[in-house]
Symmetry: none
Subunit: 215 residues, 4 copies
């Protein structure tokens, strides 16, 4: 008979269980009371897991919350498939904006805010959040260029910064809503000018996408 998780309630927690409980509590706490109000001590008190055990795993609160974010959100926001490669970028932008409106947005605001004061956190954020998504997007744009959807002289990095920069700008400055309409506009304003075969005016593109959505 394998030992299993051991039914004895008094038993010590397995390391993986400790990690799970801490990250869950951290995630929920950030959403509930905000990153600033969350404390290693408060997580310790809430979970009953000793501060020592938390500090053994993460050097500080930021690293812990970063892990909580990756643990819970990281893998969730994929890159939706699409017939055309350009359209798949549009779809990813819509998915990202939707995420920004929910818990993930709260976490990203906090983590990117904190990252301005913590180079290790900044590095981790780039590595675990920004780069994975960016690489997929880069590939999509490359394919779009190679397939003739976009011009050959398009600069991939610049294009993606224009597309995604707008989303992050609104998230971080709170200077406007992250609505689907906004995302469509952002996408069409940037992309239409980069197409190999130019389309009609941008606003028409917006109208089209809006018409589509209302169906």
């Amino acid at each position: 008979m394998p030992k299993e998780t051991n039914g004895n309630a008094q038993t010590r927690l397995r390391p993986s269980e400790i990690q799970r409980r801490v990250l869950d509590a951290a995630f929920e706490s950030v959403l509930r009371i905000g990153f600033r109000a969350v404390t290693v001590e408060s997580i310790s008190a809430e979970t009953g897991i000793a501060k020592t055990s938390i500090y053994r795993r993460w050097p500080n609160k930021a690293a812990m919350v970063m892990d909580a974010f990756v643990f819970r959100i990281g893998p969730c926001i994929g890159f939706p498939p699409s017939d055309d490669h350009i359209g798949s970028i549009r779809k990813q932008m819509l998915a990202l904006a939707k995420a920004f409106r929910g818990p993930a947005g709260t976490m990203i605001k906090a983590l990117l805010g904190e990252a301005q004061f913590d180079v290790e956190l900044a590095e981790a954020f780039r590595k675990h959040w920004l780069l994975p998504r960016r690489e997929i997007a880069i590939a999509a744009v490359h394919v779009a260029i190679n397939s003739g959807e976009l011009r050959a002289d398009v600069d991939v990095q610049v294009t993606l910064d224009a597309l995604y920069g707008g989303l992050y700008y609104r998230l971080l400055t709170g200077s406007g809503p992250l609505s689907d309409t906004y995302v469509e506009g952002l996408f069409s304003h940037v992309i239409e000018g980069l197409r190999a075969v130019p389309r009609t005016p941008v606003s028409r593109a917006v109208e089209i996408t809006q018409r589509k959505r209302s169906r």
Copy 2:
């Protein structure tokens, strides 16, 4: 004989002098040791001005540093004039990127980072930094539309988010340099597609501007 500022070194500081000294010290300290390391107490110690006097004017460190930023940077980054209205936006972007590479960039990173946890600071940052510049840019785009440089169906807000969002994205994520070349690329990728009379490929525009700069 007017009383004047009074040459007596022993005299008490005038309120405006207190404000100036505190803001100067705050500004320099943020650049030297970083926002996190700056403390109301350290500013008090450095300037010899009582903590009480600082707290009488600003509710907390963030508000004080925000004021220091406005006091020292705020009015400096203007909107360079240009023959064409679109060109003036390009010039402002270049000026902004240059500022981002210097002290202003350090301050903005700190303030925007902190603003993620402080709604009052966020509001102040929008009011004193983002909006004034945005309004000038909006006007420039409107004029460009009315004069026929840009299409009539261009969405001003979306366009500016695409242009400036990229700059703030790189500033805050550190995901790439804020070089003039990058700015030119960002500008041309977004703008060329929005012109009433389409131009040649974006990369050609980049080449042109680069040629200009090398002269």
Copy 3:
């Protein structure tokens, strides 16, 4: 036409009016919120009289409250006349105990407490409160000795310390009530042994005084 108090509300207060208002406010405030909570600033705020004007008259809070005490209480607790000189001491003790149970007790607790840390206040308290009363009591005891009520070898100071010390002890330590019964007991326990013609046991004296009071 004499100037009078001047109906103009805007007129400046006369010095004596300032003193009266400050002392009244100080007295009431000590009773209402306690000596510790009273502040020169709070008195200033309450009366609308500038801190400067208060500090011009009193060196600190303690001196101000001492004055308020003298101004309001000082003259109130007299030395009741009595047929026999000893009886007049008894009556003064009863009057003092009654005062101790009211506002005067609150003030004396505060002033004597504070006086433990402020020699000037201690001196003022002795001069304005303790000594005036003590001198009358000393005279009463002397007369009682000379008239043959008390023994010739009675030490006046010691006797008065025993009589009044008990009252102050209870006031300051809160180790028991300052009831009339207690005062009668204290008086008779000390005095009976000092009479030239010894009386019956002390408890009988207590019974007698109690009988008197019930009539």
Copy 4:
């Protein structure tokens, strides 16, 4: 080999050692610079023990000094044995007066002064200083009554208030010396009148005790 106290100077202090150092420093500081001038911060600075650690044990300065008093003085002033029970009270009064003339007097003045503004301190002072001594004295008086030294109708509380009240009165008001002669006088003035078999005049009793002491 037992672990022992560990000779390593670099080791952290044991809790009991922290307590001892703080209380010692508090005691000495009160004597040296006075209760008012003593500060939790100054004790922290002097001992090198963190303010936090002090506040973890005591809620404020008064409680800390109270503990310092009990720790150093509390158990020292006993109740000297004597052949007769009344004489043992006299001896205790002499011992107490002697203590009042030294460091204990300084501490008691400060604590009882502060206790006028701090009910918790007042309670602690009664519990740790006044009551233990009072209970022994009560017992002594009871024995004296039962053995026939004192009258049966003597009120113990009143008697002790008369005896000890005088001592505290002089300590707190500074209205006279706390000399042995004074104590003898106080004792005999109060006690002689309460004896079952009356003695000669009080002043004679004083003379006798003085004669004894000069031998």
